[in-house]
Symmetry: C2
Subunit: 402 residues, 2 copies
């Protein structure tokens, strides 16, 4: 079926989201079914405003550079489309003879695809819609991992390598707040920083396990007594015993999805530091915090190789699925070889409604029974995704006789 | 003169401080004048407690790995020694037959060297004392740059590359807070992130220029009107019109030097966001902040090559100065070729008292007249230190006819 194609990027940027864009465009250029190859600026918002870019005009050299550039080259949006918006999308597509729509994003973007698809079906318009997975949160169901996660996890692990070395040199308690509102995948990745026995992070708190702040202080005191220092990884989405987000209780700011804004503020970390200082047994203990920030999704030059390759692959294969007939769906990633550090990945097409608005949290097998750490299974899962990390060198420290 | 040698690390860690340590140890191993080669744990604190490590026992392989590992391998301290402490240092040195003392650190460490040296002179004890420069703040006088600064500057520039791409994809105001209490060198380095005309940071505020918060909001509004977004670099040490630190007014916490604690908290950024939201002409503008955090001094794997080499060189050359006779001083770095991207550096020995407790702020020629930016001279100064940065790729964006 000949027609024009629209590709859009949605939600939070990642370090490899442009790999998917470029993988898709370069494959589409090979097939005469795709006439116009259009990029929508700022996702669904740009479609509603008819802001399209002619991606056929981009040179190969530009595309290559864009692929390795973090963040969304087409711009992105956090607009949650109404059903009315979705109808408008369909009208714009009709006007521009769009027969293929690809949307790179998380579970909200899958939902947008799903709704637009249902309307197109109802109206009898042949439109092939594909959701291409992307999210540093790693929380899409039916995927081994989500493109964007491994690179963000690598940045988090490298930050914790640095913070552990820093905390070792100038000992105290350090609490680092990591992104992830509903799922602790990215916070869990802090564990990859560990290279020897007493390396931090010594404690890891995910939103999947309700947190008692009393236990939190007790855990920190215990580690501090054992090592003379303590490095802590805390998810921005940690909840209290009643399942309420602790960060959300500290702020009333909302983002444009109506979600309380957790990132782009240091409030949660500062509150935890104050709480520890007030309630720890150890007075005069040095307590500091860092909130890792947007670098987690956009720091340049440290992308995971697996992430870059698979992100490119899902873009490319979305085109191949689109050529197979009147189908639509969400590209899902599975891992063929479960063992070893050089995993092989392949894709399937799953139904949009299976991915739309669903969240895959960190399963129990990846969380320690104590609730303040991850298991070895998690390390085995995550390490091959992230790839090699900088190796820490330590002095042996033979003591001089006094 | 034969005798034992003590080397210590002091103040905030850097990504290359261990290059200086290893450069010194490897050179010392070649000269029979140095008998024991001892590392003091946690700087002056470890000397007072006689916690010495026998660095002759470290393998070459370990030393190589340690050289490329960020943060202080011997541990560090923020202890400001009293004159009594300095006398105690001298006693410990006498007990352990220490004839050579090397201290890697900033201006406080130079001061420690200076005081110990004066006491040794008074007592007629032959002690050769050398201060080896290190600080991400880049604020030691008589140096072209301070080891540690180029790598921290590289991390800052890379963060701003990522944050600019992120802000471009999801437009709004982003305020990033950068380390540097009294000098704006590190904040100024954010400018290296710019690769094309409208790249951020669009505004840069250093502690050297008193800041009116009214002007701050007006500047941001102006940029926002021009670009539809605005990325801002703010030093943690910015001061108001009365010369008072704005960050210090927000917190009463002090570090062990008695300085108000600015790092390890997100308070300044959060306050600036609130202020902009309240006073901007543009309501509903998306305003976010990140406080870059300890990664600035300890992120692994992204060291500047020039920084690593020069940090190694100052350690090595400190040994060569120590062999020249009864001298002492601070190693100072000068740049031979002022032009081009491949500068050559050499060292001099300057008097300890010339460096002790002195701060070199960013000179006027590096700050724009408007006070909210850096000049091209600064870029020419800093770029060769930092070296190559990841290149951003942008789509050309040929528009599709509506």
């Amino acid at each position: 079926m000949k027609g024009n194609l629209v590709i859009g990027q949605s939600g939070g940027p990642t370090m490899v989201i442009n790999q998917s864009l470029v993988g898709l465009v370069k494959e589409a250029l090979k097939h005469e079914e795709f006439q116009g190859i259009y990029g929508a600026e700022n996702g669904i918002v740009g479609i509603l405003e008819e802001r399209f870019i002619d991606l056929r005009q981009e040179s190969d050299n530009t595309l290559e550079k864009v692929a390795f550039t973090p963040s969304s080259a087409l711009g992105t949006c956090r607009h949650k489309p109404t059903e009315g918006d979705c109808k408008k999308v369909f009208e714009v597509f009709e006007k521009h003879s769009v027969k293929y729509f690809f949307y790179i994003g998380g579970n909200d973007s899958a939902d947008t695809c799903h709704i637009v698809n249902e309307i197109a079906k109802k109206e009898g318009y042949e439109l092939r819609i594909f959701h291409i997975p992307k999210t540093i949160d790693n929380d899409l169901p039916l995927n081994d991992f989500c493109p964007g996660y491994p690179s963000a996890a690598k940045y988090v692990a490298e930050s914790f390598i640095g913070n552990d070395l820093d905390n070792r040199a100038l000992p105290g308690v350090k609490i680092d707040v990591v992104m992830g509102r509903h799922a602790g995948w990215l916070t869990a990745a802090a564990a990859l920083a560990r290279q020897k026995e007493d390396d931090g992070p010594h404690l890891i708190y995910l939103p999947e396990t309700p947190l008692s702040v009393t236990d939190f202080v007790r855990d920190i005191d215990n580690v501090y007594e054992q090592h003379g220092r303590c490095l802590v990884a805390v998810s921005e989405g940690i909840t209290n015993a009643n399942g309420k987000s602790i960060g959300e209780m500290l702020t009333s700011k909302k983002d444009s999805h109506g979600n309380v804004q957790l990132s782009g503020s240091g409030a949660l970390g500062d509150m935890l530091v104050n709480y520890v200082e007030m309630h720890s047994k150890h007075k005069n203990m040095r307590v500091r915090t860092d909130t890792l920030g947007y670098a987690q999704r956009s720091f340049p030059g440290t992308q995971s190789e697996v992430d870059s390759k698979v992100a490119y692959m899902v873009g490319k294969e979305a085109i191949l699925y689109a050529l197979k007939g009147d189908i639509d769906g969400s590209i899902a990633i599975s891992r063929l070889s479960k063992e070893g550090n050089d995993p092989v990945f392949e894709t399937d097409l799953v139904e949009l409604k299976e991915v739309a608005q669903k969240t895959r949290t960190v399963p129990k097998k990846f969380i320690s029974e104590s609730g303040n750490n991850v298991t070895w299974s998690f390390i085995e899962y995550a390490r091959p995704l992230v790839g090699e990390l900088p190796v820490k060198g330590y002095l042996e420290k033979t003591r001089v006789y006094r």
